[in-house]
Amino acid sequence: MKVKQLKVVVFITSFVPIFLLIGGLLTNQLGANPIETLTRETGLWALRFLLLTLTVTPLKWLTGWNVLVTIRRMLGLYVFFYALLHMLLYLWLDQFFDVDEILKDIIKRPFITIGFFTFTALIPLVVTSNNAMVKRLGGKRWKKLHQLTYLIAIASSIHFYMLVKQDKTEPLLYAGLLALLLGMRLYQWYLKSASMVSPRNSFSRL
């Protein structure tokens, strides 16, 4: 019952950003360039949910609340939801689905290349997100595949960093958070391997 309540709360809360954006659009509150605002905000929310997804495990270590793991999949699906909106806004309103222009853009501009890669890499994770697929792949292989999340997170941070014109404070803030979350994993992994084998060996494994 507790788990179910938590899930409902997370499910509804995660829709708040998109409701606020749509509301802002309808009431003309998104500034002089609402399309730019929508594109930027959906991208940012995808990144925020991605960081939230990656916060679940370290938070579980710190607090011992195993229940957190039950919302990770939902958070991951919201990453895809906001990333999909972000991508569609680019394809539709920036490029008007002009395939030639889009391909040129992907080849020519590194930040678009990385953004495109990042989005594409989310697809296998979404497809294998249900319980049946976890069973079919087997826990180990599924886990390995979903470690792609780390790469996706690093790539999105680079995408954000590269597209900002001059003031890199905000992308650096997100990159710092990601570094912290990945650093905690590395540290945990180090502790684990150190306890399993002799210290000298574990050091060489790092």
Binding site: G31, A32, I35, D105, L163
Partner: protein, 319 residues
Amino acid sequence: MLIRIKRLGEMPSSEITDHQVYLNRRQFLNGVAIAATATVLPGSLASAATDPVPTFNNLTKSPFSTSETPTPFESVTSYNNFYEFGTDKSSPALLATEFPDKTKPWRVTIDGECDNPGDYDYDDLIRPFTLEERIYNFRCVEGWSMVIPWVGFPLADLIKRAQPNSRAKFVEFTTLYDPEQMPGQRRGVLDWPYTEGLRMDEAMNPLTILSVGVYGQELPGQNGAPIRLVVPWKYGFKSIKSIVRIRFVEQLPATAWVKAGPREYGFYSNVNPNVDHPRWSQSRERRIGDFLKRETEMFNGYSEHVAHMYTNMDLKKNF
């Protein structure tokens, strides 16, 4: 025999309305307009605050103006790149409401390679010139554009008065440096103060203006009050805001965005759909208020007036 030759842009002093009289008249008209709105429409003060009330009257119309519909006043004055007031486009409108501090005089220095340098108070600086309305396309390097009804006068008129000498090959412009008034300058986002530059022929081109207003009003702080440059065939960052110095120089001046990213921003920065910014395409633009993007035109549509200045230049190299 001494013959007094009348310089261009000069008129008999008897014809000049004293600027204080002019200002008082404007204040009076403003007062009347506000009072009228308040009596007739007590419930709609909010809209009265956003609608531009003209303070410059009898502006000369210009043949250089576009017939396109101007971008709404609200957008022109709320979506601004003015890093001196933060890097967010909405922050200049929030942080520059009191800018420039009316208790401090605004001085503009004209110096360098010229025979008639000077240090002018803002009112003295603009007094000799006839103000015009110039409705120009404005294209930002980021890929958006607006149509803006500026109030200003040709930079050429001011240059003629300063009498540049033969060593003057470029004009360098400098923005105020005052971190107290400009909070964005407390962070090293750009190498403050902001500087820009034009080649002499570009500066003398009749399209190039010094602007003191938009929509018939004095420039709001966020748009570069009290005086700024407008060069409509170049990307917006060339149109430097809140100018305190105009200097004639022999060497190509170092400019703010070239210093920040020499691979991405060039000295010329002419609007050119065929030369992409390394990180985004310049072939199209989103006109603020439009849903879809439109094609960007060479020299922002001003080819007939400016293309001749660049005939022997490789614009891919001199971007």
